[in-house]
């Protein structure tokens, strides 16, 4: 079992007083609204005790993201930002907050330009636990998978409600760390939600193939949504909704929002 998976299971066990505890994975765009502000925001979240922090390194053409995250990425890119600096910052955070794990998310091109092997190596040195690349399908990922294996970083695979069963099985069986279950069709954010019964069937199907922990993301914004599926998942991923709160109400209120979604942090 990978360290990341072990971490998730241990954390869940430590919350055994709650029935079906769901861990928090909060998303932050590196460099938004500025590098220092984004680091402060990450520190706030880690101080509050979120178990997993997903840091998105901005790309000019983020095709899996909706308007909230697209705007943040484009804004971040108006200043010069680099993967090196990002990893340096994340290395510092990971040693300052050993009770949480950091995931790195970006599109393939910035990572490809940096060098896939070199990137995975440096991410590992920065204590990054997992990497999420939404436009890299497993079929194209031999070099990446090998680098991850060598450097003990988990490549996190996404599955979706319309992934065909055969493929779902293949992906879940290769997955380590956790499986990123996209809750519905479409890009990140927005109002659209998957129907509960559809989501439940989909999560049950995944569970029938694997014991790897499940994380659910895309369009998650309320505690009710999380409660409804808590028996199937270990982690809920809060992305656009959190960024929207941050934009509209500032970090203080956004943090209160996180604690409402995940009462065990309060």
């Amino acid at each position: 079992m990978s360290q990341l998976e072990q971490f998730i299971l241990d954390k869940q066990k430590s919350l055994s007083t709650i029935s079906n505890p769901v861990l928090a994975m909060t998303h932050v765009v590196y460099g938004y609204p500025s590098v220092s502000k984004s680091i402060e925001w990450m520190e706030d979240l880690l101080t509050a005790g979120v178990e997993l922090l997903e840091v998105q390194f901005p790309f000019s053409d983020p095709v899996a993201d909706g308007p909230t995250i697209v705007n943040a990425c484009h804004h971040a890119l108006t200043s010069k930002i680099t993967i090196e600096d990002c990893l340096t910052h994340l290395a510092r955070l990971s040693s300052a907050f050993p009770n949480s794990k950091i995931l790195f998310m970006s599109y393939l091109n910035p990572i490809f330009k940096f060098g896939i092997e070199r990137f995975v190596q440096q991410a590992s040195q920065a204590n990054i636990s997992g990497i999420i690349i939404p436009d890299l399908a497993i079929e194209n990922a031999q070099e990446y998978q090998a680098a991850c294996l060598n450097n003990k970083v988990e490549p996190i695979w996404l599955v979706t409600p319309n992934t065909p069963s055969g493929r779902l099985k293949m992906l879940t069986q290769q997955a380590t760390g956790f499986i990123y279950c996209v809750s519905r069709t479409g890009v990140t954010g927005g109002e659209q939600q998957s129907s509960f019964s559809k989501l439940q069937n989909y999560l049950q199907e995944i569970q029938s193939y694997t014991n790897t922990p499940l994380a659910v993301g895309f369009g998650i914004k309320s505690k009710d949504q999380i409660d409804a599926i808590s028996e199937h998942i270990c982690v809920a991923i809060i992305g656009s909704a959190l960024l929207q709160k941050y934009d509209e109400l500032g970090p203080g209120q956004a943090l209160i929002y996180v604690k409402k979604l995940f009462p065990h942090l309060a």
Binding site: F59, S60, D61, P62, V63, A64, D65, G66, P67, V70, N71, H74, L77, I81, T82, I83, Y107, L108, N109, P110, I111, F112, K113, F114, P134, D135, L136, A137, N140, W157, L158, V159, T160, N162, T163, P164, R167, V182, T185, G186, V187, Q192
Partner: protein, 419 residues
């Protein structure tokens, strides 16, 4: 050109969010089946002929050839397609495929608006819902096309993110497709995107080169010595070139937009002078204009249809293997070439196509009058009236627009929507 499992050398492939996997696989198999189905091919040829007016002529430009004093210049008249550009060849093909797959809506990106128009026309004819994504900057410079798309019943969405041009329109189209793939087909307008789009678009466009082969045999009893085409995404270029790839004696020249200069942001030259580099974005691997961190960069061309950050993986591969020679033309050269064709031959070329003209005119002077060159006139220039008028600083144009604007709401006798 047939791919090797979606790849052309090191370029191509499929790099899309997982959510699109099923739809991508569906297109892959639908296209494989369709191109081996005689009924589909018969319908395709019928629509090309009866709706778009194919075959398009190969026009010998005698005045121009004499004026430049070099090669015999022939134009492949894709401007005479219905909709005014080669884009129609591909849209007819994919439109029929959409019907075959049973989808009810199409999404498209457009730069110059030519692909948007062609898509809106075919959608109207096939009874499909249609949404067109177009950069805000492109809408501003190609509004007449936007107007017609709307009249045809399409929804035109202005894309305000990023550089507000074709690349961003493509991103938005992909995002739409991510949420609508069950009922919608992404009808991409050029030989880019994830597999099998480059192969499929080049398949539908290759009718251009097939006709040129027959026409050049009939009209000058030989294969052309040189072929010229402008390269935006690469669809009209691969359409002309594809049939001639095995004919080593036929030189193929791709012409990119040199815009205002060679600094980043001033041009769209991806394949010359080491300005572009390998990248993976918008669903495929190819050569892109990007910085050292892999961020795609702003581009410029006077021709909205060439103002694009990436290029077809097929063209990137053929350029890398030296089967295509790449060159470029600046905004100024393009306007001069446009003007020369207008006055010598009575043909109004699109600014995109005028890039191919500019490079061919430049080179033809050095060639003997026994040399036959074919230039792909990918589109007609009517859509460019505002930009060309501005570039030529036509004095009467501004008063015309002002007067027209003043009277716009006054004379209601022509107003269709009056109460």
């Amino acid at each position: 050109m047939k791919s090797n499992n979606g790849y052309y050398g090191q370029y191509g492939g499929s790099y899309i969010p997982e959510i699109l996997y099923t739809s991508q696989q569906q297109i892959l198999s639908a296209f494989e089946e369709a191109k081996n189905d005689p009924d589909f091919l018969q319908e395709l040829h019928k629509q090309w002929k009866q709706f778009s007016g194919r075959p398009t002529p190969l026009t010998h430009c005698e005045n121009l050839s004499r004026h430049l004093g070099g090669a015999q210049i022939y134009l492949k008249r894709e401007d005479l397609n219905h909709s005014g550009a080669h884009k129609m060849n591909n849209v007819i093909g994919q439109g029929l495929l959409v019907k075959r797959m049973g989808k009810t809506r199409v999404i498209a990106e457009t730069g110059a608006g030519q692909h948007g128009i062609a898509t809106a026309l075919v959608a109207a004819r096939l009874g499909l819902e249609c949404t067109i994504y177009m950069g805000k900057k492109d809408i501003a410079r190609q509004y007449p096309n936007v107007f017609w798309m709307k009249q045809l019943g399409a929804t035109v969405v202005s894309v305000n993110t990023g550089s507000q041009t074709l690349k961003d329109a493509l991103d938005e189209a992909l995002r739409d497709w991510s949420s609508s793939h069950e009922t919608s087909h992404y009808l991409i307008g050029t030989a880019c995107g994830c597999a099998p789009f480059p192969e499929m678009v080049s398949y539908f466009q290759s009718v251009i080169g097939k006709e040129v082969r027959e026409q050049s045999q009939a009209q000058f009893d030989a294969l052309p010595d040189k072929l010229y085409a402008c390269v935006g995404g690469g669809s009209n270029a691969i359409g002309l070139f594809d049939n001639f790839i095995p004919d080593d004696k036929v030189e193929m020249i791709g012409v990119e937009a040199a815009g205002k200069g060679t600094s980043m942001g001033e041009h769209s030259i991806r394949l010359s002078n080491g300005l572009g580099s390998k990248g993976i974005a918008q669903g495929f691997s190819s050569i892109f204009l990007q910085d050292e961190s892999g961020q795609l960069q702003d581009t410029h061309s006077i021709a909205a249809g060439l103002d694009y950050v990436g290029v077809s993986p097929i063209i990137a591969h053929l350029a890398e293997t030296n089967r295509i020679r790449m060159t470029y033309a600046t905004d100024d050269e393009v306007l001069q070439a446009c003007s020369l064709l207008l006055t010598k031959e009575g043909i109004i070329p699109a600014l995109e196509s005028s890039h191919a003209l500019a490079a061919a005119f430049r080179e033809s002077k050095q060639l003997s009058n026994k040399t036959n060159i074919v230039i792909n006139l990918s589109g007609r220039g009517d859509k460019d009236i505002f930009n060309v008028a501005k570039a030529f600083q036509d004095e009467e144009f501004v008063p015309f627009i002002q007067e027209y604007a003043e009277g716009f709401y006054q004379d209601s006798s022509l107003n269709l929507h009056k109460d």
